[in-house]
Each structure stands twice: as C-alpha cells, then as structure tokens.
C-alpha cells in the first residue's frame, strides 16, 4: 500500500505544481514519454543483464557461495550465539548469508524464510532478540557482489561496473553495524524476550 501513496502523491503534486508554475501543458507528454522510456530502458538492458546473471549462476554452481559461507561462520557465531548451537538453523542462516553476499536475492529469500521459521519455533508469535538481529542483517543486506546493480551498470555502458564495490562494502558494512547497534539498544531499553 505504501507505494500507492508514493505514486498517487507524486502525480497529484505534479498536477498542483504544474498548475502553479504554468507547466500544465507539459505534463501529458511527459507522462507518455516516461512510459515509453521505461520500455526502452528495459530492452536496452536486457541482453547484457541476462549474460551477466548467466555468468553469476555458473560461479554460484561452481561452489563460490559455499566457499564464502565458510569464511563468515566465525562472525555469525558471535552475532547469533543461540541459533549457532542448532546445526539446522546455523546451516540455513549461513546459506542465506552467503546468497546475500553474492547478491542472489532470489536464492537468499527462501533460505532466510527457512532460518526465520526455525528460529521462531516456540516463541509464541513474538520475535526473539536473535530473530530481530537476523532480520535486520537481511534488511541491511551485506553484499560482496551486488550483481543486479552491476548488471544494470554494465548494461548502461559502464566500462567498469564493479568499480563501486569498495563503496558498496563501506556503505553496507556501516549500515549493518548501525542496524545491529540500534537493535542492541532497543534490546536493552525495551522488554527482553530472550
């Protein structure tokens, strides 16, 4: 529903501003131009994007994701100590994390859902501190290879689509830290549900 408000708000504001600034006549052509350029943008990106995701799939099937999951296990043990003791949860969590690291959004969601279900067992419908932390970890999205964005950049003619990597690492690592710190603060000041 939120997008309904964003979208309706935008077109309504456009109409109001158009009337106020005398640009009312430009609105119709602009809307149609926007719709046309949406399709042009998609078509122009399609080829490179598909080649790109194909190569990433090859790398994933070659075991790159599993390799990464192993490297991040010690960190996970500290972050989610209770869940790490359960082998089943730990496997699901680290598989989810490694899919995230590779920017494989489609693969990471089912794995994350599995982990969340396992973590929520016997919680009586309230999120535990560790489940909150795990969801925040996912919303803040730690990605080593933001493949979708890099694919779009490549498709738009960028010579070096991965030159944003260091910046992405900085920004996502920082935001994960802020998210986890905020979760920790809320844990301390809110009620403790374990």
């Amino acid at each position: 529903m939120a997008m309904t408000w964003v979208w309706t708000g935008m077109v309504t504001l456009s109409l109001v501003f158009g009337a106020a600034t005398g640009h009312l006549g430009a609105l119709g052509p602009a809307a149609l131009e926007g719709a046309r350029s949406a399709v042009e943008l998609c078509v122009s990106m399609a080829g490179v994007m598909c080649l790109w995701t194909g190569v990433m799939e090859v790398l994933e099937q070659s075991g790159l994701a599993a390799l990464m999951a192993r490297a991040f296990r010690p960190l996970l043990r500290r972050l989610l100590p209770r869940s790490s003791r359960d082998a089943e949860i730990f496997t699901a969590v680290s598989a989810n994390l490694s899919a995230n690291l590779l920017g494989l959004g489609n693969a990471s969601t089912p794995l994350g859902i599995r982990a969340a279900r396992l973590m929520a067992r016997g919680s009586g419908g309230a999120a535990s501190d560790e489940l909150c932390r795990f969801v925040v970890l996912n919303t803040a999205s730690i990605q080593l290879f933001p493949t979708t964005v890099a694919g779009i950049r490549a498709a738009l003619g960028c010579a070096d689509p991965f030159d944003i990597l260091p910046a992405v690492w900085l920004a996502s690592a920082g935001s994960v830290c802020v998210g986890l710190a905020a979760a920790k603060l809320f844990e301390c000041f809110g009620g403790n549900a374990g």
Binding site: S14, F17, M45, E57, S62, T148, V149
Partner: protein
C-alpha cells in the same frame, strides 16, 4: 589495450573454465541464469512504466526542483545529491521500484557520474526493508516484530548517508 577492456572476455572465459573444471554444466547454468536475469527485468518493467510516467510528470511540473530545493539543506548536510531524493522515498518500500528509479538516474546522469554512482551504491547496499520484514516475520508466524522495523530503518538512514560518503571517499 588496457586491463578493463579485457575484463569481459576474461570473466567469460574464466567462469567457463572454472565451472567446467568443477563439473558444472556451464551452458545449462548460463541459460538458467539468463532466464533469471530476464525474470528480474520482467519484474521491474511493470513497475518501471507507471513510476517513470510519474517521475517524468514530477520533473516536468517543476515539483522535483521545488522538492530538491526544499530538501537541499538537509541533503546537502548529508552530502546526498538532490537528484537521489526520489530513490530515498522508494528504496525501503519497493525493490523493483527502487531498481526502476535507480536505473533511470544512472541512465540520465551517466553510470560514472556522482549521482549515478551514489544511486548504484544505494541500490547495492540495501534491501527492501518493509518487504523483507513482512516476508520473514510473516513466514515465521511472528505477529510482534518488536524493534525489528525501527532498527532496520536506522540501518537504512545510515546507508543513505554512508553511500554518498563512500562514493566521495572512493572516487574523490
């Protein structure tokens, strides 16, 4: 002949050789991956059409300029380019919408411009917060999400600020 010209052929060759050496059906993986790429585009296109229509209208009416001027003191203080303002609104709410707005920014300003890079970093270092919380907590049968959403929104706010900062740090 520079190294960056060799990136694509080397990546294709390397991925193929590495996969084949590890007994992966490389060609099948390529087509399956391409299918996935196509499904991303198919997911983006339906939201790209109405969103870009609205964004173009928003710009043509002068509302975008006004919003930019209104938010400028705040965004300037954080170092975020005013052109990215629509992305800030859409990013936590809709993944395909954010991809749509972000790719349009990259196309309009150029992938290697400051705006284009900040948009790319914002897209790359965040998830669709509300969707993720809804899906995970919904699937796990959680009705009380407690502090999940406030904490996740803190992370988002930090991400917007840090994306701009990181681009400035890395690209000078």
């Amino acid at each position: 002949m520079s190294l960056s010209e060799l990136v694509v052929p080397l990546l294709l060759c390397g991925a193929g050789a590495y996969g084949a050496a590890r007994h992966v059906d490389v060609y099948a993986a390529l087509t399956r991956g391409a299918e996935e790429g196509l499904s991303v585009l198919l997911r983006v296109l339906p939201s790209l059409v109405p969103l870009l229509a609205a964004v173009y209208m928003f710009r043509a009416s002068g509302a975008a300029d006004c919003l930019g001027r209104l938010l400028a003191p705040l965004l300037d203080a954080a170092g975020i380019p005013a052109a990215c303002a629509p992305l800030l609104l859409v990013r936590p709410v809709s993944g395909s919408g954010a991809l749509a707005v972000g790719s349009e920014l990259m196309e309009r300003y150029g992938t290697d411009s400051y705006v284009g890079r900040v948009a790319a970093v914002m897209l790359g270092s965040s998830e669709t917060t509300f969707y993720t919380v809804a899906v995970y907590c919904g699937a796990a049968g959680i009705r009380k999400t407690r502090h999940t959403i406030p904490a996740a929104l803190c992370a988002d706010a930090a991400m917007f600020f840090l994306s701009a900062l990181a681009v400035r740090l890395v690209f000078g």
